[in-house]
Symmetry: C2
Subunit: 229 residues, 2 copies
DNA sequence: GCCTGTGAAGCTATTCACAGCT
DNA sequence: AGCTGTGAATAGCTTCACAGGC
């Protein structure tokens, strides 16, 4: 085996250790569905049942579960509680993890309300805005700091995730500051592509793009379907 | 050629006529970038320049452009204004198209502000909420109706796109009503999978899932990158 | 029978690489 | 030289289909 092939193989093995982003997304979805099922006192579930609720195929569900190491039984399918635990084991941060929200317009406030207290070990710990009106107010148990303190606070609180809800013009600058302060992942709601170092994970949520997509396909009233991207 | 092969081929041709959803999304992105460039008085651009701004490869840009029928020249690349026109030709509805927004919480209001007056021929024409406080108020030039009037108004205004910003519990019911009223595409912000007829295009924007993804990869501080899903 | 786990096949999407143009 | 347009190759993701188990 050549040196290059060896390198490729090793790299492949490393990558295989981390499931692809699509799988991670679906696991998060499965867990939500399982939690509902649990509330309905369902104890066991088959792949095709979960698949139907998630809007995917049963093979997809089984494939996704492979990356958890958790296995079900042909007789009873999967045990709901165990599967939830298993997904949590992969997805949830072992120790509490903080996120910072930048931009407290309508969208920022919506996000804050949406997430507050929902995820264990993952909380929005600090918010930032330039508007002096908003600074120092506390919303959903989260204090709003002036933008100028961003780097200090993020560093001090060891925050790893940044959520950018600013207007497009400010987004890149904010991303730079967050990156300097040590953030490793960004959720970007501003309709711009951010330029960040390779090692930072960026999830763009581009609502303008999504709306144009929906409008386009609504017009053509096509057969296509989309599954949570 | 067997009957089955023929059928497959014809179906393939039909599908080829409509670009895949990912391409549609990127075209929307390219256009935004081109509009910025136009504002900067740039007249021509090469695929690799546009690609850099969009965060994709130049081959990707060229491939995407194939579905427009618009072609550039090796000498000067693409003409910005013409390309914008060409993308608009594909994406923009020829006649004005209406959207309906359901749920005027923080998120709904953010969406309303975000989109108002941005896209030509695509406007949010009606909003709905159950809260009597909000009903009959006008925001961003858009009147808020009581939820009970949803089907009537959507039908009367011939609205084709629905934007669901309700809590999870209400989402399916709202989707059903919108579907009955003739909507062909849905943008769904509620963290549930909707069950709708095949012919309705659904774009799920699942922020909980996205946040969990970002948190996951931030923790592993991986090399992965994501491009606008 | 109907389930899971998974190799293999099939698809889709992206990138390579080069002919052709200026 | 450096670009576009595109067939061919590759990579990535999903589904098929079946062995093995209850």
């Amino acid at each position: 085996m050549s040196r290059q092939n060896l390198a490729d193989t090793l790299f492949g093995m490393l990558r295989q250790a981390l499931p692809p982003t699509k799988t991670i997304g679906r696991l998060s979805l499965y867990r939500r569905l399982l939690l509902q099922l649990q509330a309905e006192r369902v104890e066991n579930i088959y792949s095709h049942q979960l698949a139907a609720r998630a809007g995917v195929t049963s093979a997809q569900v089984r494939r996704d579960l492979m990356s958890l190491g958790y296995t079900g039984s042909p007789a009873h399918g999967y045990h709901v509680a165990e599967m939830i635990r298993s997904i949590g084991h992969l997805l949830d941060p072992p120790q509490p993890m903080g996120a910072a929200l930048v931009g407290l317009g309508n969208l920022g406030r919506a996000i804050l309300t949406y997430f507050s207290g929902r995820r264990p070990n993952l909380a929005i710990r600090a918010a930032f805005d330039i508007d002096p009106e908003k600074v120092n107010r506390v919303m959903q148990g989260c204090r709003c700091h002036p933008l100028s303190e961003l780097e200090d606070v993020v560093r001090r609180e060891q925050i790893l995730v940044g959520i950018i809800c600013t207007p497009a013009e400010a987004a890149q600058e904010v991303a730079d500051a967050l990156t300097r302060a040590g953030v490793r992942g960004l959720m970007n709601f501003a309709p711009v592509r951010l330029t960040v170092p390779e090692c930072i994970f960026v999830e763009d949520i581009d609502m303008i793009m999504s709306l144009e997509k929906v409008a386009f396909y609504a017009r053509r009233n096509t057969i296509r379907k989309d599954l949570a991207e």
